[in-house]
Symmetry: C2
Subunit: 400 residues, 2 copies
Amino acid sequence: MINVSVLGYGTIGSGVVEVINTNNKKLKETSGEEIKVKYVLDLREFEGNPVQKILVHDYSIIANDPEVDIVVEAMGGVHPAYDFVKEALEKGKSVCTSNKELVAAHGAELLEVAKAHNVNFFFEASVGGGIPIIRPLNECITADEIEEITGILNGTTNYILTKMSKEGAGFEETLKDAQDKGYAERNPEADVEGHDACRKIAILTSLACGKQVNYEDIYTEGITKISDVDFKYAGSIGASVKLFGTSKKVGDEIYAMVSPVMINETNPLYSVSDVFNAVLVKGNMLGNTMFYGAGAGKLPTASAVVSDVVQAVRHAGETVETRWSKEPVKLGEMGQLVNRFFVRVAEGDKAKAQSLFANATEVKADVAGEYAFITEAMKEEEFSKKAEEINVINRIRVAF
Amino acid sequence: MINVSVLGYGTIGSGVVEVINTNNKKLKETSGEEIKVKYVLDLREFEGNPVQKILVHDYSIIANDPEVDIVVEAMGGVHPAYDFVKEALEKGKSVCTSNKELVAAHGAELLEVAKAHNVNFFFEASVGGGIPIIRPLNECITADEIEEITGILNGTTNYILTKMSKEGAGFEETLKDAQDKGYAERNPEADVEGHDACRKIAILTSLACGKQVNYEDIYTEGITKISDVDFKYAGSIGASVKLFGTSKKVGDEIYAMVSPVMINETNPLYSVSDVFNAVLVKGNMLGNTMFYGAGAGKLPTASAVVSDVVQAVRHAGETVETRWSKEPVKLGEMGQLVNRFFVRVAEGDKAKAQSLFANATEVKADVAGEYAFITEAMKEEEFSKKAEEINVINRIRVAF
């Protein structure tokens, strides 16, 4: 019998309890043990809910109960999650978490603590919700130099961009629709400004290179400037706009970025729509491999957390090696990265734009008073310098 | 230092040597050991090729060398691969293989032998080439009841069907083109008749249910009857035809099948084109997750084999549990499976077809002298019985 305690009874925490209860027989088959939820920690009361019987308000009850083998952290945020997780590991309990803020900020350190105490710190659900991507990176794509990881890592923004693309609607009204449907938070900043995707690409890049990529160092641009007019142009050339979290290894440098990118159907991520997520991993031997599925949602995310619980049971008494040291990575300068850019300027700037950007390709759409084009590949710093000389209405990186 | 020996210096075997040599530094980082190829077994001579220095013609040299830690089997076919692999495991060497015939026929047994000798039998590359799918099924999707696995598991047939769909070409001429390009064998039967996909879905289904699914029990239908006319109809309703290997759990019954299926863009597998493969796994909590990538090819497949070598190094001295016992699964009767069918009959059979198949939807295309329709969902046996009463030109299962 394995006793699990769940910290936080919100969307993910209640999902974890539901998955453990619903699939209990299956979990016994895959883990070899009966898995039971002994405590749920939450400050709220949940009157009349069956969870009341196992509800505690004081974390020390869980931390100090030697019968608790595994702690599931589903509180979100860095504090007090960090302190609770660290204490659990130090007390010989494995921890499984869906908390990307915690993992991005303290992943390497908590892996070290886990190793020192012969337990495991697993975080499959912290990136891509239900999609297996952390364990495949750590245990499957191990024979390749990873040249690039590019993901649609945030379901909220993908829902908004998909709807704008299909319906020609503007950003603000689509955001409101997403909020009404419960796909976006009332305070949508973490999603639409790219902060959520930023933490996720920081985690994936750290795992790919085995060192610490600080999310604060990653250039991050959200989707708030993307308009229905941009999609008009994109549609005219069979393209769409997605929010990518991406990192590339160029020579010895690692570049990482979160930004809207214009792609067309030659990109496997093109058909990833609505709230779905996907991660494309490019290896020097493997080529492109893509992992696709539900990037968020109660049960898919909880399923990933509980699969970590199964691995923690299977590996009781030993630490599964995860290549992610605290040694910091100095990311390459964004200005040196080479990209193509889709650019919109006022009609009056057309001649100047044409002289500044040689070999640009005009993009035509039914938009009055503008001139739009896609540049040739150039360094970000070169583009920025040239773009300062004209009145740019909007510009979006292009990946074709 | 870990000594690997490679059995067979064909496409995959030479790829394994290339990956180990090219990514040697990376392998040391991920496995913690220097990995070296000590022997290559092949009956041929390879005059002037650097492999000559480590080439042996006699397997007993490898089997009896206590310095050989890991054997890579890349010979293909069941014999003598089976005997060589079994002997290696019995002599305390882990084995990594890309050989789907061997794994489908003897996987459960070889896993048992490996366990008895405290070593590992890994076969990530046996399904989906470079795509991680075996390890994710075994170690990631462990909290779910797996309700369905559906894959585009054969690159040759997917290349042919994609080309027929895009260019309106017939089967025979497209097969010839695929042969000329090296995507199809001179004797294409194993691919175009579905035998290759059959072994792969047998392996995946065995892993999903933890028991032995015999590939001989799986209903298997290839793509040789699919014509340009079928694609004309499919195109008229925004659909395409793919060769699926699929298994479903319905109640307590498991159904498995290889067959062409008509799908539209609502299916994540719709955009999987050319020689790419993909596997969709549906869990009762997780929903749909898809794994996509290069399903064949020298380096992608070799990359998967070498990732198994890394895992074998990491788990030296212990057996990673793989849920696949020898207990046989009795598959559900195909006749009981419920499907919709796309059906083409001669114009003269229209009235009869309409009276036999109530609630059918006509499919219109620019084809003379025919009547085509899609039936409502019905049991396979009910469809077969009705179809006997008319002159069916072709019929294809429909998954939308």
